[in-house]
Symmetry: C2
Subunit: 378 residues, 2 copies
């Protein structure tokens, strides 16, 4: 890990970042100039002025995504601000291009006011074919995404929510297959009711998982818990149908699946032992998981996944976001729905040829991934 | 011209615009991914969080310009809106890359409210090393540029003002040289008191031209003219020191130089004949100039320039803006001053080896141009 740090700093310094502009038409003489710029470009402007939808055909709008953050919840580093968030957004743009041929540009906003963020993104929308929201803190991320989806005519997706949820679902589909468990019967406990936790719960319910409970720092969410509001209030109304009260320790007793998007070390070997037999453990807190994979396995876990690239079964969003926006652009999708994401998760899960407890997801560099996901987004 | 239209439309449709994203670091395996993205990128984020100025060294901020328009005054097409303006901004970004290796990204804003434009650009500033304002209508362009220059720590330049003015000055320097006229003595009349006219006047005065008058549609600006306010009021106070009143016809009597950034056909052969001997005529209205070059010459004009690529002596901003921002980025210039632009104009004028009335500016594809201009911006 410490080697990566120095090496990554040097790489960024040497290249002054990771992406740049490429010209896709020749500009070698006056004739080229007359076509790409004045006077020829006037005809292109007028064609779009006459019919705005032509912007998708005649400009970068049809193939370009904005990766937008306010720097408020960057990786596990917290609220480090827009300048410091830029290397992550730029990296994401590089992955968009590399994994799915999607042109993407990073936008880091020097405001963390939800209304200002919404307004600014609406002002920027003419240039883009889609908006990937990134590393925006909960709960403002929910309102921002919901409002933009309602008010813009291009797809908007907060990847920390839905990208993560879709990879989790793909991994869970394969884990349940290995364990020969049914989505109707398994008892799933999600630890963390922030951006990722919220989306995971909703996508699992959309997929058809019947028994889902959620814990935050205060323990189980249940309808009627007096301190709940906003998203957590809604979550409590659609999960934990038996209205169980208690801590995460209580919640895990007899549970089949643990999905952690919370904090390091929250789960002990004792808690794993109290779960159902051969439990599934997705400990996704980064960089330090809720329980280390080897400890979980020693305590009886059957399938273990984490968010880290140095362990097996990494829940890696790069399996989803490039393909999702590739599909959204190609198919001119206005709204990316949970139904599409369930199909994307199923398709992604289906790509694992040599399924085993050590391999429940395709390799990130598997060339089939982006197209397979893209085909589900329509 | 009509051929350009069809050919340009086809080019734009075929390539879906003119620029794209390029990746400047390898992303071929898990190790690459760990450096460009998580976990390695966290070290880069923290380095910038500790010292914001590191963003210029470690991200695209140090080499990327935003080309920003509100679509309110696009080419000669007027207020065609942000979507229709995109092909021009994209083209400009292609020229930035092609002529000076500057990475540039187009931003077309879906608002024409000056305060909203200012605020939005300030929100976007973390990502960029400079702001090229483009095709924003007067008078709001003045306030927007002035405020952003005062409130941002990166250079901001409205190219329709200062790019145009700098090329005009370079052309005038060479025209005066050919005519063996002194900047102290020539009488210059500028037709048009909008974005370009304003900046041309100020740059000519900064260069040391003594006698400059400006006409708008109502005739000569003079201190005390009752209808003047804002920029025109200021222009009247620094030009036309003899407080001459009258029309453009009156203003041109005995004038040495006409610079038109106004409307087609405003100047007749008769008016040219009433100017001083061997007058200099820059008729820059686009696409149809204040007087056609051949008519001006027939009436006795000595040096003639226009804004069109199909006539000699084109006043073409591409001679200036790529180099100006190249220099501003390389030399970490916070404010692009008129003093720098005068030096850039002088350097640009000095590049014409075979100076003649038919060639007062370097060729746009002369490889020396961008670096020569860049060296003046420091």
């Amino acid at each position: 890990m410490s080697d990566y740090k120095q090496e990554s700093l040097e790489l960024h310094r040497q290249h002054q970042g990771k992406i740049g502009t490429a010209i896709s038409v020749p500009i070698n003489d006056k004739h080229d100039l007359s076509l790409a710029y004045t006077p020829g470009v006037a005809a292109v402007c007028l064609a779009i002025a006459a019919d705005k939808s032509e912007a998708r055909n005649l400009s970068i709008k049809g193939r370009t995504i904005a990766v937008i953050s306010d720097g408020s919840a960057v990786l596990g580093l917290g609220n480090i601000g827009p300048e410091a968030a830029l290397p992550v957004m730029e990296g994401k743009c590089a992955l968009f291009k590399s994994f799915a041929g999607v042109d993407a540009f990073p936008i880091c906003l020097d405001t963390q006011d939800p209304e200002e963020i919404i307004k600014t993104i609406k002002y920027l929308a003419p240039v883009f074919g889609g908006i990937n929201l990134e590393d925006i803190a909960a709960p403002r991320c929910f309102e921002i995404e919901r409002r933009l989806q309602a008010e813009l005519d291009i797809p908007v997706m907060h990847d920390d929510q839905h990208g993560t949820a879709t990879v989790v679902l793909a991994a869970l589909i394969n884990a349940l297959k290995l364990r020969e468990s049914s989505k109707d019967e398994v008892k799933v406990v999600v630890s963390g009711a922030g951006a990722a936790g919220n989306a995971i719960v909703r996508l699992l319910l959309g997929y058809g998982v019947k028994h889902v409970s959620v814990c935050d720092r205060q323990g189980l969410l249940y309808a009627g818990r007096p301190d709940l509001s906003g998203e957590k209030f809604e979550l409590a109304s659609i999960t934990n149908l038996s209205k169980q009260q208690g801590s995460l320790v209580d919640a895990l007793v007899g549970a089949d699946v643990f999905i952690g998007v919370s904090s390091a070390g929250l789960v002990t070997t004792e808690m794993v032992k109290n779960m159902a037999e051969r439990p599934i453990i997705f400990a996704l807190a980064n960089p330090n998981p809720e329980i280390m994979p080897d400890e979980a396995e020693a305590a009886g876990a059957y399938v273990v996944a984490s968010g880290r690239s140095d362990f097996k079964n990494q829940i890696n969003n790069v399996l989803i976001f490039p393909g999702v926006f590739r599909g959204a652009l190609d198919n001119r999708v206005r709204l990316i729905t949970d139904e599409m994401l369930v199909k994307a998760a199923e398709a992604l899960a289906g790509l694992v040829d040599d399924l085993s407890v050590d391999k429940i997801l395709p390799d990130a560099f598997d060339k089939r991934v982006a197209n397979t996901v893209a085909n589900a987004i329509k």
